[in-house]
Symmetry: C2
Subunit: 314 residues, 2 copies
């Protein structure tokens, strides 16, 4: 059991009992049928001091980010978030800290009309585990529907969050990218639109290379990605130098943008969504029958990065 | 915000959006309608090294207890547990630890036919947050249905877990009571039977005095409890001395027995359940219109204990 994937595979072998589980462990959310009509998605994730936020985060920022990263899992399934349960562990009970945390989280709750229905509070090393339940609107997007020839797209810019993580906190670059790292905006509305036609979708939390590979593995396909076409912030090249670029774009996670695949015939729909929400949506490659291939400057390229493994902590 | 209750009240004020939330924050589980037919209950709780388990717990025992305490919340609602999400944070990834943890948890999963559908693993200070989803079979039991004149009952023996916590680990008493603390058995089957007729129910996790008071507050009633009638283990008086007794019986939590109220006419049903599952069910008092009253040796008595507050950590 050397990686998160080994662990997921171990858990998958544990017996399940209910025929209403459509998808168990392995995607961004589980899919469950509660009624004969609609399917629901459920996800639960932990945010910790260290891997997920650092000491310079304000309580509002922790409140925002810990929910945003969970909402992003609902967004990648193309579903509507409904209910949240908060398991909060904090080292010292401070009324002002708690209020500021919930001020940060509440803006997102209100924006997405999500209701807190439960949870737990304990005293200990800081840890925020949030469980979210959402419901399908159209099709539920998973990692497993990509077909050979489908185009691969990403929303927004890639690499900003990792840029903030690797740049010195005293630099202009860090100050510029910090917001992307600390206050990611889950693409819930875009995910819902994509659920009408996208063939697969994932949120970029562990790095584009790793997350796209998850789509390929789940879909039993390969891919060809043009690294030059991966969209970055206009100031990315100014602040991020040399080989750090690849680490940010392919290896870096925490962008919480969506990576999805779609048949070419939907390109007009995709452009309309991009215009409607004023969010860049960029084609970065195509699904192939086998192989994980990258090109750079029109030459085949082998990336050096592997993406974040929460299990290994790197 | 000085206690868990203050915090719960703070959370209750956060706006909710969905008319399918039957009960939000405040009971052992939230109650949600997913379909027109059945209601579901959802609960999420964190177990930490320190307040919930100590260094002498084996991984199997942590796996058992962290699920058992959550199953107990489903039991107290009189519902059938269905799905579990595990958010596990461990300081060091050890394959043998993980397998032993899941060996401990799997026995309970299989016994109650609960399926793991998701979760998260991270590296950090040990923390196990489990979210459970259950479904109603009969009525869903809450804390709020107790009526004046209803009898108050508890399952099993009270005080064993706290006895283990306060006794020196080298003593015979500790060795005798340790199993009650470390391997509690959630009363799921009994809860399901009670859901046919009980008027209110709670699991004893924070101490009988506090948990019974929660029923009283939610039901807008009072109670009269005869302390002498609270059932204890045959060896309780041998190992637990003097004023520690009250701390164990009224203040101690973690027994994960059920405390419920019922109309007198159901006494035969209650006896049948007790016989069917070979679990002691004892009447300890009655619901009154107001006041929280205790008697000891036929005299009015004022307990000194208040019960465990997860927020204060004591």
């Amino acid at each position: 059991m050397k990686s998160e994937l080994d662990f997921v595979n171990y858990l998958k072998k544990i017996k399940t009992f209910n025929k209403n589980i459509i998808e168990g462990i392995g995607d961004d959310c589980a899919i469950v049928k509660f009624s004969s009509r609609k399917k629901y998605v459920i996800t639960s994730d932990t945010s910790l001091l260290g891997p997920h936020f650092s000491k310079d985060y304000t309580p509002e920022e922790i409140g925002h980010k810990s929910l945003a990263t969970n909402l992003s899992d609902i967004a990648s399934m193309g579903c509507v978030p409904l209910y949240a349960l908060y398991d909060i562990t904090i080292p010292r009970i401070s009324e002002s800290w708690i209020k500021r945390f919930f001020d940060g989280t509440r803006k997102l709750l209100n924006q997405h009309k999500v209701s807190i229905i439960g949870g737990d509070t304990t005293k200990g090393p800081m840890s925020i585990s949030i469980t979210l339940i959402g419901v399908q609107n159209n099709k539920i997007l998973t990692r497993s529907g990509a077909k050979t020839g489908h185009d691969i797209f990403v929303t927004g810019n890639i690499g900003n969050a990792r840029a903030a993580l690797i740049l010195d906190k005293k630099t202009k670059g860090y100050k510029y990218f910090r917001k992307s790292l600390v206050m990611p905006l889950p693409r819930v509305a875009v995910g819902l639109e994509l659920s009408e036609f996208a063939s697969s979708c994932i949120d970029i939390s562990d790095g584009l290379a790793k997350d796209l590979k998850s789509i390929a593995i789940s879909s039993k396909k390969g891919f060809q990605v043009d690294v030059d076409s991966i969209p970055t912030d206009p100031k990315f090249d100014i602040y991020v130098k040399g080989n750090l670029k690849e680490q940010c774009i392919l290896g870096g996670g925490e962008d919480y943008e969506l990576c999805f695949t779609a048949n070419k015939k939907y390109i007009r729909k995709i452009n309309n969504i991009s215009n409607k929400y004023n969010i860049k949506i960029t084609r970065i490659g195509a699904i192939k029958s086998t192989g994980y291939r990258y090109s750079l400057n029109n030459k085949q390229y082998n990336p050096k990065v592997t993406g974040y493994d929460h299990f290994k902590g790197k």
